[in-house]
Chain length 221, copies 2
């Protein structure tokens, strides 16, 4: 379903070149529940940005459903991304001036749903992450773990075929984090959603059927 | 050293009142290494904001070194805070337009150190968190765990007598997180710095000499 071939990604910081991804090749099959693990700074979030069509590799090929991504038309790229992918970002990226429920409903606006349908669906996913008592709070009126759960609800509410989750349990206590993993496993098993989880937590990685290990920008396991 | 007596804290969200801390009393002794644990939303960060003189309780008393805090003079409060406390915030709060090294050096500006001394001291602490290769990156050019380590270096560089660290290892892999705990333990044992660590990680809490358990805004253990 998603195929990365010899992906390189570098950034320029003043005169320096930082080689972040140094030749990544792997495939994510439809319906997989996969974890990406590795030390801080090894390139996991950068890899997720490329998988999510948010960043272009410096070289190498990325194919989605056997179609090579060409990066020349921004609108085609965002339309594909909005239809297909739900993101849980490492720092949540919630809109500070919208309430929790309006943040969750934002991706649904592009789907031609009525306002009533959007509200119902958003509330349904807010309940799945146990945040119904805080649905009218703004992000600054939520704890770190509550913001993370709203970001998760937002990623799921649009029923995407692919979920890319960057440290989705990082701000959660063990019990709440496990609830989120149970939710991901259910969506994966019952609805066939492909899920890629970046995590530092070996207990979370162990619950994914496959584990890709990144270190210094290359796959080491 | 720090004494909380019957602390209550509520917020207003529209017509609703959210009672976050519902009668907290405890003491942090000089030189302690203490962990605060509890579920997401239980009030840990709010408690830390009160300990750190960043927020005023709705009722109850907070005394620092036997002096009751009165909250009427903002300048006395910030001066006390800047002299005494180093913060590691749950979402780092780095300044996006400064490089990593300039973020670390920011609290030192108020101490009358020369520019050369500030740069040397900042680099010393950047090395302690293994970030010397990224000292000229801005926060957006750093990974999540790298930003967290810069926030930690910034908290420590001013040699505060109290460190308040909110999930300081949340974005770090197990190995790097342990390096940070080793650093905290060294500072606590060798320099007598009082350290309060909010954490979801039982392995981190187990390394602190005392554990305070928060649940629904009250101490339950
Ligand atoms: N915009 C950028 N400019 C320059 N360097 C960058 C940029 N973004 C990331 N980097 C560098 O690329 C490397 C990998 O970053 P990335 O965010 O992918 O790491 P990560 O594996 O997600 O780390 P963490 O576990 O700490 O979140 C880091 O060394 C980082 O400093
Ligand atoms: N400014 C605010 N206005 C309204 N409610 C708030 C505000 N800040 C926090 N809260 C509420 O207070 C409660 C405690 O928040 P706090 O950030 O202290 O939790 P926490 O224990 O740090 O959680 P986490 O582990 O998720 O970081 C939460 O239910 C949150 O919704
Ligand atoms: Mg990352
Ligand atoms: Mg918190």
């Amino acid at each position: 379903m998603l195929r990365l071939t010899d992906i390189h990604k570098s950034y320029h910081v003043g005169p320096t070149t930082v080689d972040v991804l140094r030749g990544i090749s792997f495939t994510v099959e439809k319906g997989e529940l996969l974890s990406i693990i590795g030390p801080s700074g090894s390139g996991k979030s950068t890899l997720m940005n490329i998988l999510g069509l948010l960043e272009q590799p410096s070289s190498g090929t990325y194919s989605v459903e056997d179609t090579k991504i060409t990066y020349d038309d921004d609108r085609t790229l965002s339309s594909l991304r909005n239809k297909m992918i739900g993101f849980v970002f490492q720092q949540y990226n919630l809109l500070p001036r919208l309430t929790a429920i309006d943040n969750v409903g934002l991706p649904l606006i592009y789907r031609g749903m009525s306002e009533k349908e959007i509200t119902e669906r958003s509330m349904e996913y807010i309940k799945k992450v146990e945040m119904e008592e805080r649905s009218r709070h703004k992000p600054t009126e939520l704890s770190g773990g509550q913001q993370q759960r709203i970001a998760i609800a937002r990623a799921l509410a649009g029923s995407p075929s692919l979920i890319l989750a960057d440290e989705p349990t990082g701000a959660l206590d063990t019990h709440t984090g496990q609830e989120i993993m149970n939710l991901f496993k259910r969506l994966n098993e019952e609805e066939g959603i492909t899920i890629v989880v970046i995590t530092h937590d070996p207990k979370i990685a162990a619950q994914c059927r496959r584990k890709v290990e990144l270190r210094d920008g290359i796959i080491t396991g």
